[in-house]
Every structure is written in C-alpha cells, then in structure tokens.
C-alpha cells in the first residue's frame, strides 16, 4: 500500500471495489484512480492506436488515459474516467481496448508497427483492389475502432431534466468561486454554485498552502457551511456545467448518488455568470513520456495531499517553472524519495533536500508497464539515468476557459503564462481566478468580480474579509517538448506524437484545423485539454511563427462528455412523447379495439369481434354495416377552431380559397385552404352558428399548424379585421354517425324538441341542440363516408357516456362502431382526399377542385396558384383506379405506366396515393395522381411496384366509386 498520512479521505469508511476482477480496498472520498494508485496499480488502460500501456496523467476530468468501463452488464458505462469516478462500495471497473489481458495486449503489435501508422496513413492506402475496402480493410479498421463497449441493451436507469433560474451562476467552487459565492450570497442574490467534483474547494483540497491561519480545505469547509445556511444560495456538487448557450442559458449535468435517478440534466437560466473553473496543468513532451507513472505534477500533489496516495516511493520531477519544486516539497513531506528535480531553467531554485538539475531536461523513459527510470540530459550535455516510479511533469498552466469559447469566443495569447487566456466571453459572463489567467490573488479576484456583477444587477453588496494567502507569482520558461529521436506524445489517448505534427506540416496540413483533422490531435475524449497547446507549439516551431500566429483552438460544448440518456431525460421509450386519448378511448379499450398512433393521438383502428381472425374481416364488417345501416366513429381528433368576431366571415373568405361570406347561418360548407404558394394546405368544413360565429374544422394532422397559420393571418396580415380564434378541439367529443339509419339512431338521442328530419335539417345543416335530456350539443349534417351522416358533439366529459348510449340505442339497427381503417375505406370509396393526397405538392387543380379557387376575392394562395408550372394541361390530376382483374391487388406508392413500353422513370405517369379493399365493390380500389388524369378515365395502365416486384393492370376511373351523384348523403 502506498497510502500515506493525511488527506481528505474518510478512513472510517473503508470501501471494497474491483478492478479487472481483482478486489481492492479504498476509502470514502477516493476516486477509482486514487484508490488504485494507493494499491500500487499504475497501469489502468491502453491507448487508442498503438495500445500503449497507460496510467493516469491527471487527477481530474481532463484525463486522457485512465479510461475504464464502470459497472457491469446493462449498467456498464464505457470510457469512464477513473480520475473522477467517485469510489463506492462494490464498484466494479474493467480496463478497455485490449485483446488479452491489460498487461499483455495482443494489439500492442501496433506499437511495433507504428512507423506504418503515421498520421494520415490510411488516406494513402487501402484503395486497391477496390472491393477490398469493404471486404477486408474497413472491417479490420472497424474492429480496432473505439475504446469501451456498450452493453447493447437498453439503459435501465432513470434520467430527468430540471430547470433552474438564478441571478448569478458561479462555475467552479475553487478559491475564486467560493469567494465570489460568499460575496454574492451575503448580498442576497440568487446564486447557484456548481462544481464537477464531489468534494468542493478545487485546488484548495490538493495544495498545502495556508489561507490565513488554516488550511485551504478547512477554509473551504467554513465557506461552504455558511453558503449552505443561505436560502438564496444553491450549492451543487457533482454538477458539471457542460455548455454555455445563448442568452445566459447553461447546461448542467448532476450526478445523483443513491437516488432513483442516475443523472439530472439541468437547464439553468441566468442573469449573469462567473467562470471560476481554474486551470489545467500541461505536460512537456519527451520520448516515451506516456508510461504509467508519468503524470502532471499537480496531479501528483492531488493524489498525495488530497487522497494520501503516492504512486511510487521514488519520484522525480520535470518542470519548466516553480510548481515542480512545490510538488517536490509536498511529496517529500509525505515520505516520498525525490530522486531528482529536473528543471529546464538554468536559474532553477535551489534546495538541499533533494538533487536539483538546473537547465536539464528529461529525454526518455524506461519501464515496460510502468515507469522505472528517466533519462536526463544535464545542462552540461551529459545524460544520466535516474530511478523513478513516478515522474511529475509541470509545463505551465492552461486556464480552463472552455466555456468562454462556447459562443465562438476566441482566446488571446498571454506571454507570461505562455498560454491562451479568455478574451471575449458570452454576454453576461465574467471570468475570475486561474480561469482568467490570474494565478495569484484569486480570492480577491473572485470577490471583485462578484461585486462587479452585483453592481451591474443593482444589488447592494459589500466586500467580504478574505484570508491572506501565501502565494508566489508564476515564473516560467516555456518548454513544450524536448527535441529528440523517439516518439514524444502530445495527445496520449489518440497517440499523436511530435513526429505526427511535423509530418502534417511537411504535407501542408498547417492550418490548426487541418492539423487536428489530419492527425486527430485533440479529438479524443478529453478534447485536447492537455494536448492542444503542445501541438500548436510544435507547429509554430515548424512554421517559424509564434504560437498565436499559428492558430488558436477553441472549444465546443460539452465541457466534458455527457451521457446521451441525460439529454433525453424522461422523454425516452414509450414516454418519448405524450399520448392523447379520445373521449371514447376507455370504451374502445373495453371493446378490445386495436389502436393506432395518429400524431400524438391514439385512435381506434378497428374493433375486432369474436371469430374475426384478420383485420380485414373487422374492417369489412364495419364498412358494410355502416353502409347498410349505421356506424359510429370518434372524430374528436379533427381540429376545431372557434372563429368569432364582426369580421369573421371576411376573414374566412381570405383564409380559404372558396368563399364564406354568403354562407347562411345554420349551414356548413367545405373549405379548401391553400398555402401562399398555391398548394393545398388543408381542408375541412366550416359551420356558421351565427352571423359572427363560425366553427372551422381541420384535419387531425394539421390542427396545430392551421391554427398557427390563421393566427398569422389575423395578427400579421389583417389586424384590422375583428376576429378572434380559439381552439375547441378539446372542448367537444365529436362522433360521426353515418349510414342510412343515422338519423333514426340520432332521433333516439336528440331531444324531441329538435327536428332533425331531412326537411328541417337537410344536408349541410348545422345547429345547436340538446341531447339525452338537456345536454347541450352541436349537430352537423356532413359526410365523409358518402352516406347520410351527421357529426354530433357534446361536452367532452360526456363523450364516453354518449358513445355508450348510442351503441345501446343503435343495437336495434345493428349499429357498429368503426375505426380509422373503415373511415379510410369509406372516404376512398367516396373519393374524398385526405392526408395521402394533401401531401403539400398538390394544388386545387390537381385534386379536381380548381373551380373552388375564387378569382373574385383576395385569398391566400390564389395569385401564385396560377403559375404556369402549376396549371400545365398535362399536370397531375386525381383519378381512381381499379384492377382490370378484380381479384388482383396493388399497393399505394405504386407508380403508373402506360399499358405498354419500358418501365422506367421517363415513362412514369404518376402514382397511387391511397388504396384499400372495398367490401362494397368486392375488389381493391385506389386513388392516385396521373398526368392529364381527367382525360384518361377508361385507360388501362400498369401499376408497378418494383420494390415489391409486383405489376398490376389497372383501369383509370373516376375517383368517386360510390354514389357519384351524392344521393345517399342527401337522403
């Protein structure tokens, strides 16, 4: 055990966990990585391309190497970073991307063959023979693809979304964030303080310097306690702010521990935000700098100070700045043997506690599955082997400015830090502390920025007293890589080396975007947090330009990867979208109806009865019974819009292609609605209940868009018209009652004082009536089926009862209830168009209703419907089809060809839009659109359906298969 004294782990809470099947012990407060290091496990994974053995480079979310699969079976999460995985009892993790064991990976052969796998090698080969790409090369490449593995089974966990509002969101609960939160919190602002870590305090938990008379972590605990007592402050641990979106909206992902929900995806609406995300240390590249045990100096300090874990006893340090010396002091204090501090600066600080090599660099390393020693080139040019089981590398700090780039903000170069710092940030965002390149006085910076924001928001705030921090300014001499012959890794996960960047330069991939794309630098799961700058620095050397002149890389959301399930929340599986139920749904379910999804609605498709074994039997029965006697259908889903106002008639005149001004009160008229481009948008009936009151119906599919369109017309085009719109789709349960006995059935429902005889209530009449003893209702004599038919509407709560009552009184007529299939059959038999024909590319002319487009008034779509391409004589027109041989069938979606000639696109005459079996006629019938259709009735054509390899001779007929004169519906 390399566990040392101290740290923030809870030694009273031991935890057992497994890695690659072996059981280890850790403590509450550990991460998987810290616990493994404390158990002397440095090897945790394999790299992507060369399968190099890897251990953690970092102690945070920027980790490129220590990726594991967390959990087992359906709970397995691939590519989890061991460095941030909070240890819990029973945690089980496995390493990834190897064939054979982690320590003996057969795929490591790739490392030996690495010269052949230089950047972009795959663009240059695998092209011959052509067929081999799909048969051989690509399968091999795909076999090697990816890191972790999905279980392949549905994710069993629950996820949720939530929404928060605040004055100020503070991102990061390190020193700057805590100072800012306390300042704004005391001022009474609504504050959210979020941090990805489970232990808040940021670097305060990993460093040994004091704040006033206490340790940094103790100060953090005090501040957090006060924040917890403030009702206006919400502190969110384990919460990553993953993205900054427009107008102060932030995305956050909270890991829930022990609850019923695995993760909560918060959308946070802010007035202001303060980014206090700290900084990430960067490595220095040298040959074989990727061995397990080589990590960032700051990570070594975190493991030692926060987690009391030393990855090895013999530890060396490689640094270009003073941080390396801090690492050496901290580790030595915990009992490590510092074998050397290799400082690339000639003016390195001195120490008597351990050897310091000023002006020296590490040029290579050794150790098969973990670091054993490093090769150091001294200032004198002499090289020396130094034993080390771990090497702490400090190359300087990169501010964590990622969120400032999420709205395409471009950072600028800071020569003192030799790194990019924020320049512009999203509107409303300030940046404080190390995230802003401010490496000292970060508490004051956090407080000052909070005060500035409070002033901005008009909230009175006072300065808070801050402890004195011991700190020293940054002193750094830039060094990004050590020149040499071996491979020096920049992007460790994707195996991008200094040589690869040089090759990219040699081949002209010089723009930073070309560099990234050609070499895959920065494209791994860490998105280049520790590698981008190094890559740029190498490219800058090659081009002879400065780093900022070579390019900048900006970051896109998410800050760290977010599970797809979290973005879906509860809107997944069956709850993907809500379900709308019709008023007769419960009754229909009792009858064993088969339901079908129609938009959000569930509608009864047909009602199987005992003995019926196919859907066709049920549908045929429903159709025949309706046409013979009477059928009932729930048509509530059709959109219904109340149109009122003194100018309601004028308004409808403009919205519909045909006229409504002259429609008499108590009458209904069919209306055709066009888009402004002259195509048919929707159709439906409109009833006039009073001079200033109409009810318009829409198709089910277009209910929402037609209402929106009518509001557009009302508000944006003709606000001078006095007209008001209200959706009443939900207010009324509406049933179609169709068939020769429809009236007789309804007479048993409608209260006696209302005369619904043919004379009193003729075809296209409407009225407000009462039913069943005084219940207010509306009755419309309209027909979609072609039969004598009514639609009756009652307040929705009575819909269920009305259905039951009608079925009851309908028994004497053998009434049936029919579903959407029978509805569809009857409308095709009648030749009514529906969704399949109103497909957005058909005009009134196409549908045989050209005469309805009035030329004597202004209406939407009238002008553009006259364009030559839409009025050509050979344009598509609606026709009916019937098979020449009545026992033949064909399919909707078939194309029509002349009886003779080649079957190809050039000879395409049109297509079948709708098709059904007509039990009334005893054969299949179809509707469709063919060129010059009106003139082709009687022609025999071929309905071809190559995707199902069928071809049927059909005769072009009138689209009205039954009762073309409309005698039935007027009966």
């Amino acid at each position: 055990m390399s566990r040392v004294l101290g740290g923030l782990i809870d030694r009273n809470k031991p935890i057992q966990f497994q890695f690659n099947g072996k059981t280890y012990g850790g403590f509450a407060g550990d991460t998987l990585a810290s616990a493994l290091l404390a158990n002397d496990v440095r090897l945790m994974g394999r790299s992507f391309k060369y399968h190099r053995p890897r251990g953690p480079l970092t102690a945070g979310s920027e980790e490129p190497n220590a990726l594991v699969t967390l959990g087992t079976g359906v709970y397995a999460e691939p590519n989890a970073r061991a460095t941030v995985a909070e240890l819990y009892e029973g945690l089980s993790a496995r390493s990834q991307n190897h064939i054979g064991s982690l320590s003996f990976d057969l795929m490591a052969i790739n490392d030996v063959l690495s010269p052949f796998f230089a950047a972009g090698f795959y663009y240059k080969t695998f092209m011959w023979p052509k067929a081999f790409w799909e048969k051989l090369y690509e399968p091999v490449i795909r076999h090697a693809a990816g890191l972790g593995k999905l279980s392949g089974l549905p994710d069993p966990d629950a996820y949720e979304k939530g929404y928060l509002h605040c004055d100020l969101l503070i991102i990061g609960a390190g020193p700057a964030g805590l100072a800012a939160a306390l300042t704004a919190g005391r001022a009474g602002a609504d504050v959210i303080l979020a941090d990805e870590d489970f232990e808040l305090g940021g670097r305060l938990n990993s460093e040994t310097y004091a704040l006033g008379d206490q340790s940094g972590s103790a100060w953090a605990i005090g501040v957090l306690a006060e924040l917890a007592s403030l009702p206006n402050v919400r502190v969110m641990a384990r919460t990553t702010i993953y993205g900054a979106f427009d107008h102060g909206i932030f995305g956050a992902l909270e890991q829930n521990i022990g609850g019923k929900v695995r993760q909560t995806l918060w959308r946070i609406y802010t007035k202001r935000s303060l980014l206090c995300a700290g900084a990430t240390e960067r490595p220095i590249a040298f040959a074989n700098n990727d061995r397990p045990g080589i990590m960032l100096g700051s990570a070594l300090r975190s493991y030692a100070n926060r987690w009391a874990a030393l990855p090895a006893r013999d530890i060396a340090i490689f640094t270009n700045n003073d941080e390396g010396h801090r690492t050496a002091r901290d580790l030595r204090a915990l009992g490590a043997n510092i074998t050397a501090v290799i400082d690339s600066r000639l003016d390195a600080p001195k120490s008597t506690d351990y050897p310091i090599h000023a002006g020296a660099v590490v040029t290579d390393s050794a150790g098969r599955l973990g670091l054993r020693s490093v090769t150091v080139q001294l200032a004198t040019g002499e090289t020396r082997q130094i034993a080390a089981g771990a090497l702490g590398v400090s190359g300087g700090w990169n501010p964590n400015l990622h969120l400032t780039c999420h709205q395409r903000g471009r950072p600028i170069w800071n020569a003192d830090l030799a790194s990019f710092v924020p320049n512009t940030a999203p509107v409303g965002m300030l940046v404080a502390g190390a995230a802003n390149g401010q490496m000292t006085a970060v508490l004051a910076d956090g407080m000052d920025k909070a005060l500035q924001i409070m002033t901005d928001l008009g909230i009175v705030a006072k300065a808070i007293s801050l402890p004195v921090a011991e700190e020293t300014p940054v002193r750094l001499t830039p060094l990004f890589h050590v020149p040499g012959k071996g491979r020096a890794w920049l992007d460790q996960q994707n195996d991008v080396t200094v040589k690869d960047v040089k090759l990219a330069h040699q081949e002209g991939y010089i723009s930073v975007e070309h560099l990234k794309r050609y070499t895959t630098l920065g494209m791994a799961t860490d998105q280049g947090k520790t590698s981008n700058i190094g890559g740029l620095a190498v490219m800058a050397e090659m081009t002879g330009k400065s780093i900022p002149d070579t390019g900048t890389t900006i970051f896109r959301p998410p800050y760290t990867p977010v599970s797809i399930a979290a973005f879906a929340g509860r809107s997944a599986g069956r709850d993907f979208r809500p379900t709308r139920l019709t008023p007769s749904h419960h009754w229909a379910a009792e009858q064993g109806a088969v339901f079908v999804e129609v938009g959000m609605w569930l509608r009864a498709q047909w009602f199987p009865r005992a003995g019926e074994t196919t859907w066709r039997q049920s549908v045929d029965r429903e159709v025949l019974a309706t046409r013979k006697s009477v059928g009932i259908c729930d048509v509530t889903t059709l959109g219904k819009i109340d149109v009122q106002g003194r100018d309601a008639a004028r308004f409808l005149d403009r919205v519909y292609a045909n006229g409504f001004a002259k429609l008499a009160v108590g009458k209904v008229r069919y209306g055709l609605m066009l888009r402004e481009d002259g195509m048919v948008m929707d159709d439906g009936t409109t009833a006039r209940l009073a001079e200033d009151h109409f009810i318009t119906t829409t198709t089910t599919a277009n209910a929402v868009s037609v209402f929106r369109h009518m509001e557009f017309c009302r508000q944006c085009l003709w606000p001078d018209l006095d007209v008001q719109l209200m959706s009443i789709t939900e207010s009324w349960a509406q049933y179609s009652v169709a068939g020769p006995n429809a009236r007789a059935l309804l007479q048993r429902i409608v209260d006696a004082e209302h005369d619904i005889s043919n004379n009193a209530f003729p075809y296209m009449a409407c009225g407000q009536i009462t039913v069943c003893g005084g219940l207010r209702a509306r009755l419309f004599r309209i027909s979609f089926s072609g039969e004598l038919a009514f639609e009756i509407a009652v307040p929705t709560r009575y819909g269920d009862a009305l259905m039951r009552r009608m079925v009851e009184v309908g028994a004497e007529f053998d009434a049936v209830v029919y579903g959407t299939e029978a509805l569809g059959v009857m409308r095709i038999e009648k030749g009514h168009v529906a969704g399949n024909e109103l497909n957005g590319t058909t005009t009134a002319l196409t549908l045989g209703m050209g005469a309805m487009v009035s030329k004597s008034k202004d209406s939407i779509g009238a002008v553009l419907s006259t364009r030559e391409g839409m009025t050509a004589p050979d344009g598509l027109a609606l026709v009916g089809f019937r098979p020449v041989n009545p026992s033949d069938s064909f399919a909707a979606g078939s194309h029509l060809m002349a009886k003779h000639g080649a079957v190809n696109a050039a000879n395409d005459q049109g297509y079948v839009t709708s098709l059904c079996y007509s039990p009334h006629l005893g054969h299949v019938i179809g509707l469709g659109l063919i060129k010059n259709g009106a003139a082709r009735h009687g022609e025999v054509m071929r309905a071809v359906n190559p995707v199902q390899n069928t071809e049927t001779l059909v005769e072009v007929v009138s689209p009205h298969f039954i009762d073309p004169k409309g005698e039935r519906l007027r009966a």
Partner: protein, 416 residues
Amino acid sequence: MRYNALNVIKQALTGHKDWTPAWRDPAPKPHYDFVVVGGGGHGLATAYYLARIFNKSSVAVLEKGWIGGGNVGRNTTIIRSNYLLDGNEPFYEFSMKLWEGLEQDFNFNAMVSQRGVLNLCHTDAQRDAYRRRGNAMRLNGVDGELLDTAGVRKMAPFLNFDSARFPIKGGLFQKRGGTVRHDAVAWGYARGADSRGVDIIQNCEVTGFRIERGKCLGVETTRGYIGAGKVGVAVAGSSGQVMAKAGMRLPIESHVLQAFVSEGLKPIIPGVITYGAGHFYVSQSDKGGLVFGGDIDGYNSYAQRGNLPVLEDVCEGGMSLMPMIGRAKLLRMWGGIMDMSMDGSPIIDKTGIDGLFFNGGWCYGGFKATPASGWVFAHLLATDQPHETATAYRFDRFRHGRMIDEKGMGAQPNLH
C-alpha cells in the same frame, strides 16, 4: 508522390522524409479562365472536374479561410441517393456513382463505406410514401428495398421494438448508401486538382465582383483583384452574403444545423439509421464515434452553433429508437450554416449576370452531392449548358411554379 501501399511502406521505413505537401500554396495570378469562389467540397470538386474532365488548365479556387472549413468539414458524412422526385434522383445517383469510384480517381482514400442507409417508417401512410420513393428510385435504376418490421429487426435487432411510442412498421433501405470520411473528400479533391494545375488559394476572401455592362470580369479579393473568364460561386451557407455583393437576392435562408459525436465505442451500429417518428439519425464512424443529428434549429443563423432544444430533441429521438445508447456520452457538438432553399432542393444555374454562375441552396444535403455538384457545375461553367442530371436546378423554377419539393413543405426553408 502517388499514394499507395508500396510508398507508405517505403516511407515508413525511411522516416517519412519524402512526402510532399498535398497541395501547393501558390500566389494568385492576375487572371484565370475559371475562378471558383469557395474552397469547400463543392468548389474543390468543381475545380477538380474542370481540370480532370474538361481539361481546363487555368483554374483557381479562392477560399477565405482554410480549405474544407465549411460544411464538408462539419457534417455527418452520409451518402445516399434515395430521392423521390425526378428533378433530384438522377442527380444524386450520378453522385453516388462518382463516390463509388472516387478514391481511385483522385488517389486519396476517403473511406467511402457503403454500409447501407435505413429509413424507418412508423405509420401506414409513411410506409406508402416510402414505397412510392423506393419505386421512384428503382425506376431510376437505383437500388432500394422496402423492409417490413421483421426485415428491420433482422438488420438492426437493437432497435426499440418492444416498448416504442411509435412502433417500427418497416423501412426503406438503400444498401449502397453509407458514409465517407468527410475531410478527406476536401483534401482528396484539393490534392487531385492541385496536381492538375489548379491554384488553390487559401486565406483569400472575395470582397466583391467586378461587373461591367452586365458581365462579370473578375473578383475583388483580400489579396487583390483577380480577373476571370468565368466565375463560379460555390459557397453554400454564405450564398446570400456572397451573391449580395453581385446585387442578387436569393430564394435561400441561412440556418444552423447541429451535429453530434459521441466518444469512441466498439462498433455496434452497422450503417446509417434514421428515425421516422422523431428527429434522429445515426451512424458510427470508423473511429468508433456515434455520429448523429436531427433537425435544424429552425431560425436564421450564421453563428455556427446551436442551442439546447434541438440537442435534447435529437437525444430523445435516439433514446426512443435505440435505448442502448443511453450510457454512451456525447463528446462534441457543432453547428454548420446551411443554405436552406425555398423548396429544399439546390440551385446550379447561370445568374442574370454574364459570366457569373451559382451553385448553392444545398440545405443539409450537400455533402452527399459533392462529386456530382462539382461535376455538373464544371459542366455548366465549361459548356454553358446544364448537365443532363441537373436541368431542374434553375433559379426560375420558383417564378414558374416548378418547385422540386421532396417533403411538400412549401416556401418555408426551415421546414425542409
């Protein structure tokens, strides 16, 4: 140096010393016979085919930033030719055929991978529409199969068949559809064009057109005036901005389309799958990332980034269709600017200005069209005649009511 296995091996053994830049970095000349504005996929392909097919030796491509930095550099890499309408299908099939021989043609492995494109349907009406489309494809000599639920299950057993809000009723499958390594397309065309004498000039923004008496004589650029016999503009995403410099208003709006990629995962999704009851489509790259997307954000934008509602909508669709991806993590999201046209189809046409030609309006379907777009635009530039597969892509189709509206959504770009 030619790209082949032998040279890769030779170079590997000798330290990769002899590889040369994939394209030169020439200074602009004062005049070219053909100036192609826009160093994206379409512009580079146009230049390549001008040289390769039409033997034009004086060709320049002007790019304001770095080549391949537009939508060819940020898309979801899908190729397919499963269109419905006569105006489109032959063109996209022409493109598919070019993809099928492209790598050998331009000597660059772009990883054209025909693992299939499966469009799922969830209602009877949708299945009828797919049948009509599949038949249109077959009538044009294109492969297409209509699958029932069992057929879909066989191909993609991991889809949600058991607890779906919108059950899968079948699908339209194009076996020859698939994906291509998108950046490599730009680089392959650039390298191929460069090797045939085309000048590819990066960091050269066109700031205006020199137009005299109705004729375009050349372009003003940030690197000076460049005269041209003919100017072809292929800057989809920025078409409105660039053509405004020539005084033109277009039937196009610029919108943002987001795309998403997950961390690398071992292969689990075979080809391209699109959800028919939500906005979600997905494929898995050769590196293992799930590459997925959905609908455009829906508002005019040049910001190259989108917002949360679409991201969430897309993932909801994904989790509804294939709940096994829940624990895969989204790694990166980005937004591209789309030329959304008024009928969802592109424009490749002369303009009212002599010598000035336009190629744009690709909506979010431009990537798959890259080879054919380049070829037919080169054809138009070289011969003044539209290529036989692109005769419908005219400006005046809106004036005359001959829209090519696959989805039937009408003159509202954000619905296409």
